[in-house]
């Protein structure tokens, strides 16, 4: 097994190669505005470091969000195109699940929250029973509106750091790691569990308003 994992759903541009047991190589950068520029060179670097070509891959893993759309699409367009050219499967995973898996590796066991920055003073978030078990679907909300649901629980992800009044026990990891995402995918593949399609979790409709009518130019 050799998986290439990418995730651009958060400010992190993160890429990892995983052989099913261990991370072979990884690249992690945090730059919310340059996903498009940074991703392909990161893939190139990771492969070079491992001394491998894309043709060695058995699958692509991609974080499908939720996340700010423009960056999110960079990873998905890249992953789906790779998979199409190489003729290998692309496995979608919820980005928050990757962070939860990393939280487990960092020693968090019991119930906790994962929250990432959704901008516009909101977070993408989900609650976890344990690092492998999400409670319900990921959502996008104002932190104050979910304060009761997350009270007293540890929380990981940058969204937790941004709103300390709500997430009072913010912990590492702060940023998404493709290595964790790949490890989670390897675990799921081994256990015969399924994946999400490589389609974005937007959670919001596009901002677009149907115009009421054209503006009359003649002074009334």
């Amino acid at each position: 097994m050799l998986l290439l994992a990418v995730d651009t759903a958060t400010p992190a541009v993160t890429v990892a190669l995983h052989d099913g047991r261990d991370t072979v190589a990884e690249s992690n950068q945090v730059d919310a505005r340059r996903h498009g520029e940074l991703l392909l060179p990161s893939v190139d670097r990771v492969l070079a470091e491992a001394g491998l070509g894309l043709d060695a891959l058995t699958g692509i893993v991609v974080g499908v969000g939720p996340g700010p759309y423009t960056g999110l699409r960079v990873g998905l367009a890249t992953a789906t195109t790779f998979a199409a050219v190489l003729g290998i499967p692309v496995h979608g995973l919820c980005t928050l699940d990757g962070l939860a898996y990393a939280a487990g590796a960092a020693g968090i066991g019991g119930p906790f929250t994962v929250a990432t920055d959704a901008r516009r003073k909101e977070v993408y978030w989900a609650r976890y029973e344990d690092p492998l078990t999400r409670v319900g679907e990921p959502a996008v909300d104002r932190p104050a509106d979910i304060a009761e649901q997350v009270a007293g629980m540890p929380a990981v992800g940058q969204g937790a750091r941004l709103y300390p009044q709500v997430f009072t026990d913010a912990r590492d990891p702060e940023h998404q790691s493709a290595a964790a995402l790949a490890a989670l995918a390897a675990h799921r593949l081994e256990a015969g569990l399924d994946f999400l399609p490589p389609a974005p979790l937007y959670l919001r409709r596009p901002d677009a308003q149907v115009p009421k009518n054209y503006k009359v130019v003649t002074p009334q």
Binding site: R34, L40, T78, A208, V210, Y214, T218
Partner: protein, 374 residues
């Protein structure tokens, strides 16, 4: 491969997901997935709606184009993609896919300019572009007069709209007349049954002291809206066909007049018209008439190649390969305001992707204006 490179082009600068494949100046495939219907109820292109549609359509459209062309991706000599100008989020989907595609195939990547592509597409219809080429580009997003001594390296803006693009004016007038979106085709159709001389709408920026090659359609748009409102306020019926014809006449009169003048001033004996508005039947007819009178050869591609498509990107990409222009780097960015003077975005280490070819640049042009047009 040097003379007839096989290139796949990806275009996602607005609401069409286009993938085209060309061999040299021969069109092999032109696959387009449009999200125009999703935008219609908003009365204009909604960037986020367009970006979402691009992502969904990207891989299937590439595969459709390859099938249509009957070629194997492994045989491609390069991948071209619109790097700008256009909607930032929309461009980024195409650029990301193109990079992944080129990288996975081990092919050079060419980030190219959308406007230069609109010009270069005519090579697929009428053969190699004359040098220099005079081009009038008119669409919902742009209205420019461009002089291109070398479409791969030297494109000079002579003039552009100072407010609305020509296609935008069509959309806005269609909205005032409650004809839906997009406005171009429906106004063209209604205008055929109307009198273009019925109402004398203003011709923007055509005074003797106005800039010779710039355009302005905002004043025209307001004048048409006022005229319609006056009719409505007086309780009279609006003669939709005559309004459409007279408005359209005002637009195409200015466009063709200025384009012909630019050809004459610069001593260029042919004119290329591209962009979505080049599909307008009256623009094509009037341009033909005026070019004939002026002894200028008119080149307008078929309507499907005038609107945004992948074939135009592939056409320019093929020219980049043929002229041995340096490929783009893997950190190529989508640049929503890529200047028209940059026909492509060469990498900083061009040799890295050029696969060892070392050719002399066979098209070196003097930068002196006087040497160019002899």
């Amino acid at each position: 491969m040097a003379d007839e490179p096989l290139v796949l082009g990806i275009e996602t600068s607005c609401d069409e997901t286009g993938v085209g494949i060309v061999r040299g100046t021969t069109l092999l495939a032109d696959a387009v997935a449009s999200s125009v219907d999703e935008h219609a109820r908003f009365g204009g292109v909604v960037p986020e709606v367009a970006s979402r549609a691009h992502l969904e359509a990207m891989v299937p459209t590439i595969e459709r184009a390859l099938k249509e062309a009957g070629v194997s991706a492994r045989d491609l000599d390069g991948i071209a993609v619109t790097a700008g100008p256009g909607l930032a989020g929309a461009l980024l989907v195409g650029v990301s896919a193109a990079k992944a595609y080129a990288y996975a195939l081990g092919k050079p990547l060419y980030g190219v300019n959308h406007l230069a592509s609109h010009i270069c597409v005519d090579q697929l219809e009428h053969g190699p572009l004359p040098e220099p080429t005079m081009a009038l580009l008119v669409s919902g997003g742009h209205s420019s007069l461009l002089l291109a001594p070398d479409i791969t390296s030297d494109v000079r803006p002579l003039g552009a709209t100072i407010d609305d693009a020509a296609g935008e004016a069509f959309d806005k007038i269609a909205r005032v007349l409650q004809l839906g979106f997009p406005g171009g085709p429906v106004i063209d159709r209604l205008a055929k049954e109307g009198d273009p001389k019925a109402i004398n709408f203003p011709r923007g920026l055509t005074g003797s002291r106005d800039p010779a090659y710039d355009f302005s359609f905002s004043g025209l748009k307001t004048a048409v809206a006022r005229w319609i409102e006056a009719k409505r306020n007086a309780g009279e019926e609006v003669p939709v066909r005559d309004v459409a014809a007279s408005f359209q006449e005002a637009v195409v009169d200015v466009l063709t007049r200025k384009a012909i003048r630019a050809c004459k001033d610069e001593g260029v004996d042919h004119l290329m018209i591209g962009g979505g508005v080049a599909a307008n039947s009256r623009l094509r007819a009037l341009a033909q008439e005026r070019c004939d009178d002026a002894g200028i050869v008119l080149r307008v591609p078929r309507p499907k190649l005038c609107t945004d498509n992948g074939a135009m990107v592939a056409a320019l990409g093929a020219e980049m390969v043929r002229r041995n222009r340096p490929a783009s780097d893997w950190d190529l960015s989508a640049d929503s305001s890529l200047p028209v003077t940059d026909p492509h975005v060469p990498g900083t280490a061009g040799e890295e992707h050029s696969h060892g070819h070392v050719h002399d640049h066979d098209h070196v042009h003097e930068l002196s204006k006087d040497n160019l047009y002899q």
